[in-house]
């Protein structure tokens, strides 16, 4: 069926502009921004045309006020991308309105069509144009329409941009088709925000929206940016009337598990061979887990082993036997093979679905297939349920990834399935230990050997980071930069990284460190900061204001031990011991220092953070804690030369 788009030739209508709009010299919502969205309206329709043919139309009308040169640079130049094969952009109308009332229309001759990228099935183009005669103080307006022949089955409509906005309104007309249901869901809207149903449309609106800003230790964007999504679902993939959604999903997992965890003869034989002689259940599971980790190539971590083409030729299968025969698999296939082996070894594994909190925090009402996409194997041992995921090559046996924990888990169940919670581990689980052993010379040069070990979630994060970096040099640079970013004059050499792909052992890094002029040397004295790892560190939280809640990924502890041999001829000046800090429920900061007869200074610092999420109102307190810790980390010792007068 050929669909021909006829773009309307109706003259565009512009709404009146209140002259008062020109009087403001900056945004009242977010002062300091170069421009502001006065309003942005979207009418979004999706339609079923019959015979598996669809249409999606989005109509935009936007009005902006430009306050200064920055705003001009942000709004002058536009590129509206579209996929050529799916549809196109209709007539674009734009105009610049001056405070004097003069109007400059965007000429159609100055709208250019560019093919951005064409490769395979991807054909991305853009309409490019610049608003005419744009200057600070102007208002610009834009109207255009996009049409697509393929519809987005999970449209995400945002209500926050990188500019402040007075009003963002969306009217949504979802498609209707037999066998397809939908739900319009709002995320990060407050009760005060407007929503309504007009004939044929769902309407959602937000007012006085601050611009998106990037802040350290924030929630995922999906948890911050107000969004409306149209959640389409297959009617047959829904619970029956009265049936609980999660019970329905658990039943689906149960059915999936029957095939996915079914052992073949070969799997049976392998399980028997591997568990031979193992006495305890844990020992048996551990050896099966190790096998899946070590002997089955995880294709998501196969850079340098498989090419893209080879990877693309691998057909994902629901059968663990296929995974075993190929010797490779996706993370899910590797995990299911473990489940099948465990099944063969006499355990009762079941599929457990968990949610990845990195893209959005789990909410019980998030009854959608994009929730709970991670797959674990749940096995009961000694009255307790344990979860296994060998599909993550760095994950310890029986551990849960930090972004899946503190969230919901749904275990396969024939009936009465429900969400349970699996808790994250505490601060004593994720530990980074750093040891520095070195010496200072008379000129203040520090030479030392550094050893770092990271375990728990910290270790997993570091290993994942190593896997992303290209090559040994990049990995070494990653650790060297942690010191060089603070002290650019530092020399970091002979770096070794061990266990970066191990799921059993903590990652270990060692290197030799030399920092010229580390200590401050005067004619009679030498001063230095024992906490080498924090010298010159800037505060983490710099801004006086915070817009979003604070979110740390997991509780963690860092333990640092520094041992420095002082040069001869120096005597410790009056010193006071560094002070620990009582952080209450937030965590713990302790420091201690000792000096030996041989002139070795030993400094120990432990910082644990227990909290994960804090409301935005807590920001001043959190900022103060980190600032205070930073000040204490700069603690210094002073030494006098033994032959000088006091």
């Amino acid at each position: 069926m050929v669909v021909v788009f006829c773009f309307s030739l109706k003259a565009v209508e512009w709404r009146e502009i209140d002259p008062a709009e020109f009087e403001l010299t900056e945004s009242e919502i977010d002062p300091g921004f170069g421009a502001e969205i006065l309003f942005s309206e979207l009418e979004f329709r999706q339609e079923f045309l019959g015979e598996a043919s669809y249409k999606e139309v989005a109509r935009y009308y936007m009005r902006f006020r430009v306050y200064n040169e920055l705003g001009v640079s942000q709004l002058a130049n536009w590129k509206l991308p579209y996929e050529d094969r799916r549809g196109g952009i209709g007539k674009i109308e734009g105009r610049t309105v001056k405070p004097s009332g003069a109007v400059y229309e965007l000429s159609q001759d100055h709208i250019f069509d560019t093919e951005l990228v064409r490769k395979g099935k991807v054909d991305l183009a853009a309409k490019s144009f610049a608003f005419p005669n744009l200057e600070p103080g102007d208002i610009v307006e834009l109207q255009y329409l996009t049409r697509n022949t393929e519809i987005d089955w999970l449209p995400v409509l945002r209500f926050q941009e990188r500019l402040p906005a007075r009003r963002i309104t969306t009217r949504i007309n979802p498609l209707w088709d037999w066998g397809i249901g939908y739900k319009v869901r709002r995320f990060n809207f407050s009760e005060d925000d407007f929503s309504d149903i007009e004939p044929g449309f769902y309407v959602a609106e937000k007012r006085n929206i601050k611009a998106i800003v990037d802040e350290p230790f924030s929630l995922p964007e999906s948890d911050l940016i107000p969004t409306v999504i149209i959640d389409y679902f297959d009617d047959s993939d829904r619970p029956k009337d009265g049936e609980d959604y999660w019970a329905f999903r658990a039943k689906t997992l149960h059915r999936e598990g029957k095939k996915a965890l079914a052992p073949s003869n070969q799997i049976e034989a392998l399980a028997k061979e591997l568990t031979e002689g193992k006495q305890s259940d844990w020992a048996k599971l551990a050896v099966l887990y190790d096998y899946c980790q070590n002997e089955v190539l995880n294709i998501n971590y196969s850079r340098g082993i498989l090419t893209d083409k080879e990877r693309s030729k691998i057909k994902e299968s629901n059968k663990p036997q296929a995974t075993l025969a190929r010797g490779n698999g996706t993370p899910e296939e590797v995990t299911y093979l473990f489940g099948a082996l465990a099944n063969a070894a006499g355990f009762a594994p079941r599929i457990a679905a968990m949610h990845d909190n990195r893209f959005m925090k789990f909410k019980g009402w998030l009854k959608h297939r994009f929730a709970m996409r991670l797959r674990y194997i749940a096995i009961d041992l000694d009255g307790e349920t344990h979860y296994f995921r060998p599909g993550n090559p760095f994950l310890y046996c029986g551990e849960v990834e930090w972004f899946a924990a503190n969230s919901g888990v749904l275990e396969a169940a024939r009936k009465n399935g429900a969400i349970k919670v699996v808790k994250q581990r505490g601060a004593d689980y994720s530990v980074r230990k750093r040891t520095l052993t070195g010496a200072l010379d008379q000129e203040g040069r520090l030479t030392a050997r550094v050893e770092i070990e990271m375990s728990g979630y910290s270790g997993w994060d570091a290993k994942e980071r190593m896997a992303e970096l290209e090559g040994r040099e990049a990995r070494e640079e990653y650790f060297a930069d942690q010191i060089k970013d603070l002290m650019p004059q530092a020399k970091v050499e002979n770096i070794t990284i061990s266990n970066s792909s191990s799921h059993k052992y903590p990652i270990r890094v060692t290197y030799d460190l030399e920092i010229p002029d580390y200590a401050d040397v005067t004619r009679r004295r030498l001063y230095f900061q024992p906490y080498v790892f924090g010298k010159g560190a800037q505060d983490i939280f710099v801004s006086n204001e915070r817009v979003s809640p604070i979110q740390f990924n997991y509780a963690a502890t860092s333990v640092d031990k520094v041992s420095i041999q002082m040069p001869e001829g120096l005597v410790l000046e009056d010193g006071v011991a560094p002070k620990s800090l009582d952080l209450g429920a937030f965590g713990n900061y302790t420091v201690s220092i000792r000096s030996s007869k041989e002139g070795v200074i030993q400094y120990e610092r432990t910082f644990s953070r227990n909290v994960l999420g804090l409301a935005v109102e807590s920001y001043p307190a959190v900022k103060k804690i980190y600032s205070e810790i930073n000040v204490r980390d700069q603690y210094a010792l002073g030494f006098k030369r033994g032959d000088t007068d006091s």
């Binding site: 093919e115 490769k119 200057e135 083409k309 401050d520 004295r525 001063y527």
Partner: protein, 586 residues
């Protein structure tokens, strides 16, 4: 290419760049040979479905361009030990008569060769840039140039890379392609018509000129008013017809005026037209704005050495200014860049100073040298008054920047205020640990080419407090140099110093009940390229420590053999900046 490390995998991409108005990609083929260790693995030969085509995004602000790239991305298949190869064929029907072959790349090159075969009657001229070793020979209808065993192009801080390149100019007997002129004067004459036609102003434009220059009698003030107007035109590029000279041809002044946007040559052309309406002669000046590139090679007469266009404004003979260049046949010229919105009238961007540009002035055009402005033009004058206590330091900073330093501050300040505040915070925090900015005010005095910053700051725990009995601190609170700016690798390139002129004074009131136990020595040292002075004065009566620091660095080119002296100079500076004062309780 052979992939030797994981980092090289991403380089396994075949690229064919072309301008779609005059060039047609005929074919692009690529292969990946597996590493030897992968026994049985096959060669991957890429097919049509693997070929992509994308626009090449130009320098910030291209609305549209005809510059494109056809590609085969094999990085997903390459791994350490793979060999990746490709072949591209492009047909060029444009009128451009020059091409450049670059022998050296960012990776080592075992062999690089360019071969030229021309139809009967065609001729060529070749120019080798840089003094690399090149072999040349003719075989049959081919003329070839080859270089072997070339190290990678290394970029060092403050260094400039002299590319090992071959420029080839072609001429066809039927005039379809012509040699460009062989002298700079002739080249200037060649491009002059691109800018000199279509200067007529519309009534609206004339009215605007009158409005902008109303009440101004001094010709230079009129020029300033019109120049600042040209700067306010939004920078946007419409890069069409690149294959037939579109990259050199500006849009008509009336078009630029009406749309209120244009690229560098558009803004130049507009300004020249507006100035002309007021009886001020001005000329386009094409330059190279690439801080990492070597200066224009005077022996290679080619427009390909330039990438930017500014204006040279004729001024009366009596006019004196450091920003003046004398050109025979034209007179005194004042240099101005209508694209650089942060550089004021009278100032010149650091990277352009001292370079050569091609003046398009009819029969009087040719290569000229852009003046270097005196160091005082970019002075930063800073005063800090602070109180040092046992718990920390609180103080006030006042700083006035001029010239390019003012331009630098404007560049950051004109982003939203929050960013500038944080930038100042981080700048202060680099020397004053955990600094907080309590108040801040900045002012841009463009008419005086100055930018001022005032900030009140506080930092807890500045200095090392030993049991409230000894306090050790660095009196140079701000902008302490801690590391050599030239990198740590063995120096292989001459150093292009950036100008610096800092005059700084501190007045630090000291905590009560303390006396100075150790005072650092005054420092003063000087080399051909710069000087450094630091002196301390303790006023016991007022319990005040006064510190004065002045740094002057001339924007010179320091040859390699003088690098050790340069290194020594900067190490002494690092040492001096870290001077320490020790106070002891009475």
């Amino acid at each position: 290419m052979r992939i030797r490390k994981e980092r090289g995998v991403g380089q396994a991409v075949a690229n064919l760049y072309y301008v779609e108005d005059t060039e047609k990609p005929v074919s692009i083929k690529a292969w990946t040979l597996p590493p030897e260790r992968r026994k049985g693995a096959k060669v991957i030969a890429y097919r049509q479905r693997d070929v992509g085509d994308a626009v090449v995004m130009g320098a910030g602000g291209s609305v549209i361009t005809t510059h494109r790239r056809r590609f085969i991305d094999a990085s997903g298949d390459a791994m350490v030990g793979s060999v990746f190869g490709y072949e591209t064929v492009v047909r060029d029907r444009g009128s451009a008569s020059e091409l450049v072959w670059r022998f050296q790349t960012e990776y080592p090159v075992l062999r690089s060769r360019v071969s030229l075969s021309l139809p009967e009657g065609w001729s060529y001229r070749a120019h080798v840039m840089s003094d690399g070793k090149l072999s040349h020979g003719d075989e049959g209808s081919f003329s070839s140039w080859e270089a072997r065993d070339l190290p990678s192009v290394e970029r060092q801080p403050y260094g400039r890379v002299k590319q090992f390149e071959l420029g080839l100019a072609l001429a066809a007997p039927n005039g379809e392609r012509e040699f460009l002129p062989e002298s700079w004067e002739d080249l200037a004459r060649y491009f002059w018509p691109y800018f000199s036609s279509d200067r007529e102003l519309t009534p609206e434009m004339s009215s605007r000129v009158s409005e902008l220059t109303a009440g101004l009698t001094d010709p230079l003030e009129r020029a300033r008013a019109l120049a600042e107007f040209a700067q306010s035109i939004n920078y946007l590029s419409i890069a069409l017809d690149l294959g037939s000279g579109g990259g050199y041809r500006p849009r008509a002044p009336v078009e630029v005026f009406q749309s209120n946007y244009g690229d560098c040559k558009d803004k130049t052309n507009l300004l020249v037209a507006l100035l002309g309406a007021k009886g001020v002669e001005a000329y386009p000046l094409i330059v190279n704005w690439d801080s990492e590139a070597s200066d224009v090679d005077a022996d290679w007469v080619s427009p390909m050495q330039f990438n930017h266009c500014i204006v040279a404004i004729k001024v009366p003979d009596a006019y004196e200014s450091p920003n003046i260049v004398q050109k025979e046949g034209v007179g005194k010229l004042f240099i101005f860049d209508p694209t650089d919105v942060h550089t004021t009238f009278g100032d010149i961007a650091t990277d352009l100073q001292g370079t050569k540009g091609l003046l398009l002035a009819g029969d009087a055009g040719g290569l000229i040298s852009i003046p270097r402005l005196p160091l005082e033009n970019c002075e930063v004058r800073r005063t800090v008054s602070a109180h040092l206590g046992l718990a920390g330091v609180q103080g006030k900073l006042k700083e006035v920047s001029k010239g390019q330093n003012a331009a630098f501050e404007r560049r950051f300040a004109f982003t939203n205020d929050r960013n500038y505040t944080e930038r100042v915070l981080r700048w202060l925090g680099g020397s004053i640990h955990s600094a907080q900015v309590l108040e801040m005010e900045s002012n841009d005095y463009r008419e005086r080419d100055a930018f001022s910053l005032e900030a009140t700051f506080y930092a807890k725990g500045y200095g090392k407090n030993i049991r409230d009995r000894t306090l050790m601190f660095k009196p140079v609170l701000i902008d302490r140099m801690e590391v050599l700016p030239f990198g740590k690798d063995v120096r292989k390139q001459e150093v292009h110093l950036k100008p610096q002129c800092l005059v700084e004074s501190y007045e630090l009131s000291l905590p009560e009940g303390f006396e100075v136990s150790e005072m650092p020595e005054n420092r003063s040292f000087e080399e051909l390229f710069g000087s450094y002075e630091l002196n301390f004065e303790y006023d016991a009566e007022l319990d005040l420590l006064r510190v004065n620091r002045s740094i002057r660095i001339e924007p010179l080119l320091v040859p390699l053999e003088h690098y050790p002296a340069l290194e020594r100079f900067y190490k002494r500076r690092i040492n001096a900046d870290s001077s320490t004062v020790v106070l002891e309780a009475l």
